[in-house]
């Protein structure tokens, strides 16, 4: 061929899962960026908290007057479980994508979409359970920011689910998109995982002062 010894690679597969896939790494670095971002947001939360004697601050601007307006726990807690539970169908979709089981992947993706929509609707209600709008004080600003940033990721995850479902239903269950599904699963687990400490921080730590 060239007169030089050759390393023949034509028989290697065209795709690999997990650490073999460049896409998996690209997603990992994206998540490193986003995790750092949430870490700094948490630092911001505690930094601003130093400026307040009472956190959350007393609700004095408008009625009803509340001395200790801790955020409502019911809907956020339901949503936490919705988000965590959604990892189950995602896990099954992930496994199905690896096996090449199209039917399970299709059904699983639809269930994930339902979960994601539910989480976003509940999140919308969470905003109004804070008791402050973003422009009332720094507490309101940072709460809206944390919830909003996480909601953006929920929406991105939903978008990816919808896209991959469309591809699998309308086109085919090819190797490239099976890989995409497994990478989406990593992203999804991260969305759920990162919410556990964030939930604890914004909803529980104000009750412990």
């Amino acid at each position: 061929m060239t007169g030089r010894p050759a390393l023949e690679v034509s028989a290697l597969p065209q795709h690999g899962f997990d650490t073999r896939a460049p896409l998996w790494w690209g997603n990992l670095f994206l998540l490193m960026i986003e995790t750092t971002m949430f870490g700094i947001l948490v630092a911001t939360y505690f930094y601003l908290r130093q400026n307040f004697l009472l956190w959350p601050p007393p609700h004095t601007h408008i009625s009803p007057f509340l001395l200790d307006p801790v955020p409502n726990l019911l809907i956020p807690t339901i949503n936490l479980f919705v988000i965590l539970l959604s990892c189950v169908p995602m896990f099954l979709v992930d496994k199905a994508a690896r096996r090449g089981d199209k039917l399970v992947a299709q059904i699983g993706l639809l269930i994930c979409i339902i979960f994601a929509v539910a989480a976003i609707i509940l999140r919308w209600k969470e905003f109004w359970g804070i008791g402050f709008t973003w422009d009332e004080n720094a507490y309101g600003s940072v709460m809206w920011f944390v919830l909003g940033m996480h909601m953006l990721h929920l929406m991105t995850g939903l978008g990816e689910c919808v896209f991959l479902a469309l591809w699998v239903f309308l086109r085919k269950f090819d190797e490239k998109h099976r890989l995409d599904i497994t990478v989406l699963a990593v992203y999804w687990y991260w969305i759920a995982g990162v919410w556990i400490p964030l939930y604890a921080i914004i909803y529980f730590t104000p009750r412990w002062q």
Partner: protein, 657 residues
């Protein structure tokens, strides 16, 4: 020519099958015309755009500097009014940091990392194209504002409350904030590209301990971008939010905090200095190895120092805030860290000195610039150690002493090596050598002009001249120092002019370079100048840290990648053993459209909140179009069942061949 070089040239000239070559060329060809311009995904084309665009911003930033020096050349001057002066120094700093330094360093990385690790394109070519367009939009946005008299005027770090809604009404700071958003997206995209390419697309044989030092610097820089940029990503959303939708992050009246801005900004801003400086270390290592004809002394120590610099770089941010109320323990910690960072820098400098000492020195322009770096960076380092101590810092805070210091480290640490790198790699980019005589004129004019400009500023600072004043009174005794600095700025401008003439002349009538004019060691020199669009006909394999110096005829090449679709070889992260083949996407218009959609979001967003939902919808559409396209291999290889084969079998075929 040495024996080694002869061998390497022979070893890298395998016989090439003309038909296959033609096919490969057609597969990787970029579309022409205006659509081609918008659609290209070739890393070399995009990297060249980064470099040229960033250099144009460098010239603009330089002109702003020249205007400031004209204004300050004599006391009581009224060439520029105070408001315009504010805009000009803010735009100068912003341009040099965000639109010049970071993009040009990443641009050079995006050009050479794939060539040095031996692959055909970066890992995510369309993202790469998107990154460039978003950077360009950011730069154009800032300068559109600047020319319409809405350029930023609160300094390049835009401290609140000055930059807040109360003291900076109007759109100036909003434009600054969104420009930050654009450039940081571009920087993050570039960082992910570079790390993934290095981790997954190295040629077989290039284990982690054989990666060229240049590539290591790019990896460390990219990781620093990943951990530093999110801080400013948040900050550059919070500030416009405070200004546009009345949040209170930085408003003390409602529990916000002005110092929060400083923490967020400098948590990014200090690593930023290293994000600019560390790639320059890579240029220096490449240049020194080539012009001393030996590998850089102490490879492992060099790599560990780079990584240490990357870590310690995150423990310094508060030394920008010594003049704010801080707990004493904090001051001590950040003083200690600021002094500690000189240790890994020192290790590297000593390794280079050892290399120069024991090598055979060829005194060409790139090396001269590196030697200039040593002189200037050392002075900058010394004033840095001084500033790291709190009592001295408090005395000279916000004076010209600080201005002198950071120009010594940034121009000395980044721009001198950058010019060296341009002289060094210009032959690879264009196929022509830059003029050597003009190069020496350029160096000496720049070196003398630089010292004449910035050395007197140490003295001006100690005499109490504050930064960012548009003029001063004759009684202050600052006139001679300022006049000297202004003359020096003129000499620097002349030096840059010599450089530009040199570039234009060399492009037309420069000496033809050939593949490896300097007899260098890394893989980019094994291909033609400029490199073919697919980089390598056969991907090489490597058997050491200095492939072109150690390569033998029996070093195998990689065969079996498709010439019908844009296929690259994916290898594992530690030892670069082949894992699978992988098709990269070809030209696409969607990255450009997505950049427009994101551009709409943040530019219209500062005028009406509707910019955000509309932008989100447009971006979703663009992303949908982007991902809905089918890969080319579907038609080409649909019938071919991929056979999985173990690595041992792959190795067997290597031995058998």
């Amino acid at each position: 020519m040495t024996e080694k070089q002869k061998k390497s040239e022979k070893a890298f000239a395998p016989e090439v099958d003309e038909r296959e070559l033609h096919k490969l060329e057609r597969t990787w060809e970029e579309p022409r015309g205006i659509m081609g311009f918008l659609m290209t995904t070739n890393h070399k084309t995009i990297a060249k755009r980064y470099i040229v665009t960033a250099f144009i911003f460098f010239l603009l930033g330089g002109m702003e500097a020249a205007l400031m020096r004209l204004q300050l050349s004599r006391p009581g001057n009224n060439l520029l009014n105070p408001d315009l002066y504010n805009e000009i120094f803010s735009t100068h700093g912003t341009t040099m940091m965000f639109l010049f330094a970071v993009p040009i360093m990443e641009g050079i990385g995006l050009y050479f990392v794939p060539l040095m690790v031996g692959t055909r394109n970066v890992a995510f070519p369309r993202m790469n194209a998107f990154g460039y367009f978003i950077y360009l939009i950011g730069g154009l946005f800032l300068y559109t504002g600047f020319f319409l008299n809405v350029g930023p005027d609160a300094g390049w770090f835009a401290y609140v409350p000055l930059s807040g809604p109360e003291y900076s009404p109007g759109k100036r700071v909003d434009i600054w904030g969104q420009m930050i958003t654009f450039t940081e997206i571009a920087a993050l995209v570039g960082a992910v590209e570079i790390i993934t390419t290095v981790f997954k697309q190295r040629v077989p044989g290039m284990s982690l301990n054989r990666i060229p030092l240049f590539v290591w610097t790019q990896v460390v820089t990219s990781f620093m971008i990943i951990f530093a940029m999110p801080a400013v990503m948040l900050a550059s959303q919070m500030l416009p939010a405070d200004r546009l939708i009345s949040t209170h992050f930085f408003n003390p009246a409602e529990g916000g905090d002005a110092l929060l801005w400083q923490h967020l900004f400098w948590f990014f801003g200090h690593p930023e200095v290293y994000i600019i400086f560390i790639p320059a270390l890579g240029f220096i290592s490449s240049i020194i190895a080539t012009f001393t004809r030996r590998a850089v002394f102490g490879y492992t120590a060099m790599v560990l120092s780079l990584i240490a610099t990357g870590f310690i770089g995150f423990g310094l941010w508060v030394h920008h805030m010594f003049a704010t109320p801080l707990p004493q323990l904090g001051q001590s910690f950040f003083t200690g860290a600021s002094m500690m960072i000189s240790i890994p820098s020192g290790v590297q400098v000593f390794c280079w000195i050892a290399t120069l000492w024991s090598g055979k020195i060829h005194m060409k322009t790139p090396l001269i610039f590196v030697l200039g770096f040593f002189a200037i960076f050392t002075i900058g380092g010394l004033s840095g150690v001084m500033l790291a101590s709190v009592p001295l810092d408090l005395q000279v805070h916000d004076t010209y002493f600080v201005v002198a210091h950071f120009h010594y480290v940034l121009i000395g640490g980044a721009v001198f090596p950058l010019f060296g790198a341009i002289y060094y790699w210009f032959p690879k980019w264009t196929g022509k050598m830059l003029g050597e005589r003009a190069g020496r004129w350029h160096f000496w004019l720049f070196f003398i002009g630089f010292n004449l400009t910035f050395f007197p500023m140490h003295w001006l600072g100690l005499k109490g001249m504050p930064r960012r004043v548009y003029t001063y009174l004759p009684e202050m005794g600052w006139s001679y120092g300022n006049l000297a600095a202004s003359i020096g700025a003129g000499v620097m401008a002349l030096a840059v002019l010599v450089f530009l003439v040199n570039v234009l002349k060399s492009l037309r009538v420069g000496e033809v370079a050939g593949d490896n004019p300097w007899g260098a060691e890394t893989l980019e020199w094994s291909v033609s100048s400029p490199p073919p669009v697919y980089n390598f006909f056969y991907l090489p394999t490597v058997n050491g840290r200095n492939p072109l110096w150690s390569q033998m005829e029996e070093t195998p090449v990689v065969v079996g990648l498709s010439t019908e679709c844009r296929e690259v070889l994916v290898t594992n992260i530690l030892d670069a053993e082949p894992e699978h083949r992988y098709e990269l996407p070809g030209p696409s218009i969607w990255p450009f459209l997505l950049a427009l959609a994101v551009g709409e979001t943040f530019t219209v967003g500062i005028f009406t909140p509707w910019g955000f939902p509309v932008g989100a919808a447009l971006s979703t559409l663009a992303l949908f179009g982007w991902f809905w396209s089918k890969p080319k291999s579907e038609g080409v290889r649909a019938l071919e069942k991929p056979k999985t084969r173990s690595l041992d079998e792959a190795r067997l075929s290597e031995e058998g061949a």
